[in-house]
């Protein structure tokens, strides 16, 4: 029965998204249509697409699982998701990005950098960095889905991932950003409905907000240990309290909060949403929708995570082994069958929306930024789209291969990606938008400095990754080895961009492009 239901719903999903892909194909006439949906998107589609891209299955499953271990202190991330991820992002980055993208005729973040600083090489290198690491992020998204299917249905996740990849790949390659953003609107609605029912259901089971939180606060380490939950040691002050300052759990929470919370500002797949807006008014109107959407996604997911421990204790369930299996376990054991299906497809929608945005951006990075601009100058629009479509297919296949050989816990990988993008692009991107004297040398120094530092920190120092790469961390001093590279990488990148811009000033061509970039700002 489960398999039949899954097959029917998957077929409906595929048909609906296939139809939207076809509509996108019909509407896609130029390269601009394919890359930025003709710069013609309205506020609701922008908000839902931004939210659905931002909030992946990693956020819903992975981070609610992380919250079940580290407690409600992760709610600081929900605050940053809205305050930084919507308000700061749209007001201080979105409007300018759209205007500058129009002036520079850019359809991707690397192209904006390349056109603003008169450097095709800068565009190609940044495109390559984005594409490579987006594959890792996309595989983290698929991993979350796999966990869900394993726990809920026992269906072979390899099979599901293959079906899911083909569906996403098909409508994305055919319909371009039109199809991606329209499907996001549909997927976003499904995610909203699923998370709302889930949150209301869990709070109702525990007697409301106050009693539910009090029940979570009353869980002692002994009780948590009895169900095998790592929260016994990871939330030493209780599930509804902040861990002791500078303790390992505190540093872990801090890493997640800032890695994702600040990292959101420099995500190439989100920046494309600004470029697709038909007007500044559309972007302004998208802010309230976006704020509510993120509230109903992350705030709810992070709130119910710790409560899963209470439900597990009350119902004699045992911790399922990894954090990303906690929420699926609670849903499959304590909710009616119809909701299990709804939840499953809500999470599938979350994964599909993020994956399609990642594939689209990574495909554009390889097709447009690396091949078209870097190697095949002066080709036609038709050929440009064709190259990007081929690049997207290659990226989809590469992601599939990596997903079938999973690497680590999903939320950590998500934090890795967000942090890396922030250390690499936030400084040159911010300076590009706000400081007219930013030079090509400054952009290169900020980008490469941030990128190299982050990679070295993850490889040699960071406690989660260094032991896997070189055996043990080079700096074994506590706090330093738990510090996310973002805390040093972002300021370093800002400093390098500034110093090199002052030392190596713009040439005449750059000055001309700078004037062009700022002409509408």
């Amino acid at each position: 029965m489960d398999v039949v239901f899954f097959a029917v719903f998957m077929a409906l999903f595929a048909a609906m998204f296939g139809f939207l892909g076809y509509l996108g194909y019909k509407k896609t006439k130029t390269a601009e249509d394919y890359y930025v949906a003709g710069r013609n998107m309205g506020p609701i589609v922008i908000a839902f697409s931004y939210g659905a891209t931002f909030i992946s299955a990693v956020a819903l499953i992975g981070f609610s699982g992380i919250a079940s271990i580290y407690g409600h202190s992760i709610l600081w991330l929900a605050f940053l998701n809205i305050f930084v991820g919507i308000l700061i992002a749209f007001i201080f980055y979105g409007f300018r990005t759209r205007k500058m993208g129009l002036s520079l005729k850019a359809v991707t973040l690397p192209e904006m950098l390349g056109n603003r600083f008169n450097s095709i090489r800068l565009q190609s290198v940044s495109g390559l960095i984005i594409a490579i690491f987006m594959i890792a992020y996309a595989s983290a998204v698929f991993l979350a889905i796999a966990s869900l299917f394993q726990v809920t249905f026992g269906i072979s996740y390899e099979l599901c991932v293959v079906i899911f990849t083909v569906v996403v790949g098909a409508y994305l390659v055919v319909g371009g950003l039109y199809a991606v953003m329209w499907t996001h609107a549909v997927q976003g609605i499904l995610m909203l409905v699923g998370m709302l029912i889930l949150t209301i259901g869990i709070y109702a089971m525990l007697g409301g907000v106050g009693p539910a939180h009090e029940a979570a606060a009353s869980l002692t380490p002994e009780i948590l240990e009895s169900i095998g939950s790592p929260a016994a040691t990871k939330a030493p002050n209780g599930l509804t309290s902040i861990p002791p300052a500078l303790s390992p759990p505190f540093m872990m929470v801090l890493t997640l909060i800032f890695g994702v919370g600040i990292g959101v500002l420099a995500q190439p797949q989100l920046i494309v949403r600004y470029l697709s807006a038909k007007s500044e008014k559309a972007l302004r109107r998208a802010i309230p929708y976006g704020g509510i959407f993120i509230l109903l996604m992350t705030f709810t997911a992070f709130s119910i995570g710790p409560l899963c421990n209470v439900l597990m204790v009350n119902n004699g369930l045992v911790y399922p082994g990894t954090p990303d299996k906690v929420l699926p376990l609670v849903v499959s054991e304590l909710f009616p069958q119809w909701f299990v299906f709804l939840f499953l497809f809500a999470v599938l929608a979350a994964a599909m929306s993020t994956a399609s945005a990642l594939f689209h951006t990574a495909g554009a990075s390889i097709g447009r930024d690396v091949f078209e601009k870097g190697m095949m100058k002066g080709i036609s629009h038709e050929k440009s789209i064709k190259i990007t479509r081929i690049a997207t297919i290659i990226i989809v296949i590469a992601t599939l291969i990596i997903t079938l050989n999973p690497l680590d816990v999903v939320a950590i990988m998500c934090a890795f990606f967000f942090g890396l993008m922030a250390c690499t692009f936030l400084a040159p991107y911010t300076f590009m938008l706000y400081w007219k004297k930013t030079s090509r040398a400054g952009a290169w120094a900020g980008m490469l400095g941030g990128f190299i530092f982050t990679m070295l920190w993850y490889a040699l120092v960071y406690f989660k990754t260094a032991p896997q790469i070189i055996g043990s961390s080079l700096i074994n001093e506590y706090v330093w080895n738990m510090l996310d590279p973002l805390f040093i990488g972002v300021p370093l990148s800002f400093l390098l961009t500034y110093i090199f811009s002052v030392l190596m000033k713009q040439d005449k061509e750059e000055q001309k492009l700078m004037k062009k970039a700022f002409q509408n700002i």
Binding site: L75, A78, F79, F83, E214, A217, R284, P288, G291, L295
Partner: protein, 56 residues
């Protein structure tokens, strides 16, 4: 330690700030949609004055 809605002060602060941030998004939208006059909608005063001067 005193708890507010079952949460400690720091967690409750995060909880309430999240809700406030979402409300701020809505207020921003309402302000720009209904309260702040769009530049495009403002009467083109300068233009009118210039035209009058030209007519004189």
């Amino acid at each position: 330690m005193s708890l507010i809605l079952g949460m400690d002060t720091w967690v409750f602060t995060a909880w309430i700030l999240t809700i406030i941030a979402a409300i701020a998004c809505v207020i921003y939208g309402i302000y720009y949609e209904y309260l702040k006059k769009n530049d495009e909608e403002k009467p083109p005063i300068k233009k009118d004055e210039k035209q009058k001067e030209e007519e004189k």
